[in-house]
């Protein structure tokens, strides 16, 4: 397994966010973490990224323990629910950020950097908007900037936190299709969090249902109820 999470525990005071979580994701897979709000899915994502420390348990990537790596060395692309774009930087500089902060030895020169950022902006269909500031973009465009920024560091794992949560219905649908397509081209191992059943089912190779810090078995009452009877059509993961 490319990403494997073992016996993960995390609580905030008396709230338990992760209760002995186990999770495996294969290389190149696009997996949805589905669950009601407050079920611990965002916390799981933040622990994998290193933004949150687990109380117990381990996160491994291709056999390497991620827990001992500082956030900046994990090579994880993360798209925040509200994008967390750098508002004082242009779209181009947002995407270029990950390249500019590299140590001198691995930093591409200015021409190479421009080429790569332009390529990424083309890929997310924002080729002509590089000079804009994030505030001047629509929600869907911001979302794509956030994605391009995360892709710029050539991440080995892509984590998306409610990627379409802040968008209206039509934009959501378009972006879903587009993201699916992008994943087919790039094949980056991707884990995304959502509370929207349709979104999870349409977009992901595999849907994992989370409830109260635990993964629900695919045939559990909760998973069935939560998926509204659609669960039987797709392969549901039940990693115990």
């Amino acid at each position: 397994m490319t990403l494997s999470v073992r016996h993960l525990h995390k609580s905030f005071g008396s709230t338990i966010a992760c209760d002995g979580l186990n999770l495996d994701v294969a290389g190149g897979e696009l997996v949805a973490l589905l669950g009601p709000s407050g079920c611990g899915k965002t916390t799981l994502l933040r622990i994998i990224a290193g933004l949150e420390l687990a109380d117990a348990g381990s996160v491994q990537f291709k056999g390497e323990d991620l827990g001992v790596l500082p956030v900046r060395e994990r090579g994880i692309g993360f798209v925040f629910q509200h994008y967390a774009l750098f508002n004082h930087l242009s779209v181009f500089e947002n995407v270029a950020f990950g390249l500019r902060v590299r140590p001198k030895e691995t930093r591409p020169d200015e021409a190479e950097l421009r080429r790569r950022v332009s390529e990424l902006l083309e890929r997310v269909q924002l080729g002509s908007l590089g000079d804009r500031m994030p505030q001047q973009l629509s929600g869907g465009q911001r979302q794509r900037v956030a994605l391009a920024r995360a892709l710029a560091i050539q991440p080995r794992l892509l984590l998306l936190d409610e990627p379409f949560g802040a968008l209206d219905a039509q934009v959501r649908k378009d972006l879903r299709r587009w993201l699916r397509q992008l994943h087919q081209e790039l094949h980056i191992t991707t884990l995304f969090v959502t509370h929207d059943q349709d979104e999870a089912l349409e977009l992901a190779d595999r849907v994992i249902v989370l409830n109260r810090g635990r993964i629900e078995a695919a045939d559990s009452d909760f998973a069935r109820r939560f998926l509204g009877g659609q669960g039987s059509d797709i392969e549901l993961a039940a990693v115990a």
Binding site: L51, F78, A84, F86, H88, F97, G98, V101, R102, A150
Partner: protein, 291 residues
């Protein structure tokens, strides 16, 4: 059943005789504005104009003579020195304090916040006395300092200390609400993209708080240059050595050199006006960037 709604044309009815329901009657508005302006004029503008009038009453020669007086120059230098030392220290402390308060949860956070506010609530004279009690000849460290030939009270270090004490809260107070509102998502994003702590601070945090920081610096500077009470206690009023501008003005005034006192006062007033102008400019930027 359909009900035709009247077309709404908001904000475009200057000819309408009907005031909005929440609006005060016109006479009340007029009265309040007049009162506010009269109050400001009487208590702020008239005294300021008076300073300049008194300073120039005996002519430009007397005015310039008072300003280039060696004691006045030395007081100006000391004022600038105290401000110049306290500002960078306040900058470092304010940033650090705002950072820990806004980004972390820890025991004693409330105590830290209260401590930051302490100089606002304590009388400056008491602030000065605290330093006399600690560093004065009869104070805690008095003997040790005397043995090592270090002078704090009635010398420049005491003045700098007192100035720092009264100006400490400004920058932290300005930054804390802003940084709390901004959260740390952008910093997290920067870390995930491979930025080091320093790169994150320099490239992300600092640009986002720069105007608020500058605003805090300006307020802090204004207070540093104008401080009287705390500095007065620790200064000892040694002419040409431990007098700051406000102290110099007081001494001149007490010695009936009114023109000289007011002339030097115009220097302080001018510094204050420049600061005020800067403040207005920066406030505009803060508003622009915070939206």
């Amino acid at each position: 059943m359909t009900i035709a709604l009247p077309a709404v044309t908001p904000a475009k009815q200057p000819t309408s005789p009907l005031p909005r329901p929440t609006e005060d009657p016109r006479w009340l508005r007029g009265l309040l504005i007049t009162l506010a302006l009269a109050f400001m004029g009487l208590f702020l503008f008239v005294p300021l104009a008076c300073v300049f009038y008194e300073a120039l009453k005996k002519g430009w020669d007397v005015y310039f003579a008072a300003i280039v007086d060696p004691d006045a120059i030395s007081a100006l230098k000391l004022t600038l020195l105290a401000a110049g030392i306290s500002l960078p220290l306040n900058l470092a402390f304010g940033l650090a304090a705002a950072w820990v308060v806004a980004k972390y949860d820890f025991r004693g956070k409330q105590i830290l916040l209260t401590l930051i506010d302490l100089p606002f609530s304590v009388s400056p004279v008491i602030a000065g006395l605290i330093y006399v009690l600690i560093f004065g000849a009869q104070g805690w460290f008095g003997e040790w300092l005397r043995d090592h030939d270090i002078r704090v009270i009635f010398a420049v270090p005491g003045i700098v200390l007192a100035t720092i004490f009264v100006t400490v809260p400004f920058i932290a107070r300005e930054l804390i609400p802003l940084m709390q509102a901004q959260g740390s998502e952008q910093e997290e994003a920067a870390l995930l993209l491979g930025a080091s702590g320093w790169q994150t601070f320099y490239r992300i945090t600092l640009p986002r708080i720069r105007w608020a920081l500058l605003y805090g610096l300006i307020l802090s500077n204004a207070r540093a240059m104008g401080e009287f009470g705390a500095v007065s206690v620790v200064s000892g009023h040694v002419r040409g050595q431990t007098n700051t501008l406000p102290l110099h003005i007081e001494i001149a005034y007490n010695e009936y050199q009114f023109a000289a006192a007011f002339a030097v006062a115009t220097l302080l007033a001018a510094l204050a006006l420049v600061t005020l102008g800067l403040k207005v400019l920066v406030e505009r930027q803060v508003k622009k960037t915070s939206t």
